[in-house]
């Protein structure tokens, strides 16, 4: 379980997160929604240690991870799929996967199980990743993060700009991961995508979570989405 308590963070003088608290539970998909600039991506970067928390605490189970160097965070079992995928574009699919396996000793077994989830990547192992289609790039970004065998998976708008068939594939993957006990934090702007996979939905305003509620209690027509997301 990942717990954020009273997190303040930002970029230099600009504070983005203001006392943010949330909890991602084992085997659960927590969707985080909010308007542009609410601090959703900054929250994920703060968990990954790429943005430093100036106050508050981040706990993975009982281990405090907010003071760790950024490269130590994934070693504790946190996988990250950043917004825009951020693949190593000049490297091949196989090399991107290998980077994902850097922290793992049983690389071959993990690689095989990850590629079983995305068979299309297996056919393109020698292809330079920037030449893949958008959907294939997103598959690779998720596969690379899964190579870490994460306890917690952070997904930043993974369905952005993808065609419906690819969105369905990513949704199925997230659901499958949930069954294996992975805690997923999914930053999402699409209401239908959030409702289809989310167990709970947290709404962010001004760098803080203002409300968290079960996804089952919401529908696409709920006022929450108009109020907090603007859709």
């Amino acid at each position: 379980m990942l717990t954020l308590t009273g997190i303040d963070a930002g970029y230099g003088e600009v504070q983005v997160l203001r006392g943010l608290s949330l909890e991602a539970r084992t085997g659960e998909v927590l969707c985080v929604m909010g308007r542009n600039g609410a601090g959703k991506s900054t929250m994920l970067k703060t968990i990954m240690g790429q943005v430093r928390a100036t106050s508050g605490a981040i706990l993975l189970d009982d281990t405090r991870i907010d003071g760790l160097p950024a490269h130590e965070v994934p070693r504790h079992g946190i996988g990250y799929v950043p917004q825009g995928r951020r693949l190593f574009g000049d490297l091949t699919v196989a090399e991107n996967i290998e980077i994902g396996l850097m922290t793992r000793s049983k690389g071959a077994r993990v690689r095989d199980s990850v590629l079983d989830l995305f068979p299309r990547l297996r056919e393109r192992m020698g292809q330079v990743s920037c030449t893949l289609s958008g959907g294939e790039q997103q598959m690779l970004a998720i596969a690379r993060a899964l190579c870490l065998e994460p306890k917690v998976l952070l997904l930043d708008e993974p369905t952005e700009g993808l065609q419906p068939s690819m969105i369905a594939l990513i949704r199925d993957t997230v659901v499958a991961l949930k069954k294996t006990g992975v805690a997923t934090i999914l930053v999402e702007q699409r209401v239908d995508a959030a409702l289809s996979v989310g167990d709970r939905i947290s709404f962010m305003v001004g760098g803080a979570v203002v409300e968290t509620m079960p996804a089952k209690g919401l529908s696409a027509a709920s006022a929450h989405f108009a109020t907090y997301v603007g859709v």
Partner: protein, 293 residues
């Protein structure tokens, strides 16, 4: 001597220059490509390699070949260790900010040169070649050692290419070059990669210096020319492109050899500078570099 053999001699001299230049410039290119640091102290690392080779030649007993072999292994390691220390103590603390690191490496250049002046003295000092074999061609005789320098440079550059393309360390370096934040998100210790790359870049300059010092002599100000030529090479080849660096080194080295032999060394430098100016005007990203917006 007739024109043909004279041209052959000029090309062979140019090839030696190109080989040493390729080694030196590939270090500079590697550091810029992966760390985005313009290392003005690169010439000082070159000089340090040569000066340390002289000290090694004084201290290691036995035939010159033994001292040279020791120098070829030990000097790049010492220079690499100094570079790694400088990276950790200075560049890392500046967060690798481009402007700040330029100023810092100018300071480092000054410190290293003054340290060499204090410990080594102001005089140029010879280092004996490991062997003195003269290769007798039908038209002229040529130093076997110079040809060995070319062969050694090719072997080292091949090694660098193999490390970058076919080892885990090389993969980590390439990933860090593309996106250091994402590299950190996959457990890559970027600080350690940067220290290693800075050491490797300086080590390459030191290898070049140890190879060339039996031909040139060691001097505390000898880093200026290699630094200038290395910048010329990486600008023409494309900053950060190893392939471009090698092609440009060959171009500059051979033209330097031919023009210096047939006309004058100064003219060779003028033409190289003109080529840089033309590249900057018509293809600012260099021959093999990619344009960034």
């Amino acid at each position: 001597m007739e024109f043909g053999p004279f041209l052959l001699l000029a090309l062979m001299e140019g090839l030696v220059t190109a080989a040493v230049l390729a080694l030196t410039a590939s270090g500079l290119s590697l550091v810029f490509g992966i760390m985005r640091v313009v290392n003005v102290a690169h010439g000082a690392f070159f000089m340090l390699g040569a000066v340390l080779a002289w000290f090694t030649a004084q201290w290691v007993p036995g035939p010159p070949a033994v001292a040279f072999a020791v120098a070829l292994i030990v000097c790049p390691l010492i220079v690499g260790a100094i570079a790694a220390l400088a990276d950790t103590a200075i560049l890392k603390r500046l967060n690798y900010e481009p402007e700040a690191t330029i100023v810092a490496t100018i300071g480092l250049l000054y410190i290293l040169e003054q340290a060499a002046l204090s410990l080594f003295g102001p005089d140029a000092r010879p280092v004996p070649a490991p062997f003195n074999i003269r290769l007798q061609l039908p038209w002229f005789g040529y130093s076997g050692y110079k040809l060995a320098v070319v062969a050694a440079a090719i072997i080292v550059l091949l090694g660098v290419w193999l490390i970058l393309k076919h080892t885990r360390a090389g993969l980590v370096m390439r990933a860090t070059q593309i996106d250091r934040d994402t590299a950190r998100a996959f457990g890559i210790n970027v600080d350690r990669v940067y220290a290693g790359v800075f050491a490797m870049g300086a080590g390459l300059a030191a290898i070049a210096a140890v190879l060339i010092v039996p031909i040139q002599q060691a001097h505390y100000l000898m880093g200026g020319d290699p630094l200038l030529l290395s910048f010329i090479v990486v600008i023409i080849g494309g900053l950060g492109s190893l392939r471009g660096t090698l092609v440009a080194a060959l171009l500059i080295g051979l033209s330097d050899g031919v023009i210096s032999t047939f006309f004058a060394p100064t003219l060779a430098k003028i033409i190289a500078t003109l080529v840089v100016a033309l590249v900057l005007v018509f293809r600012p990203q260099g021959l093999f570099g990619t344009r960034t917006t």
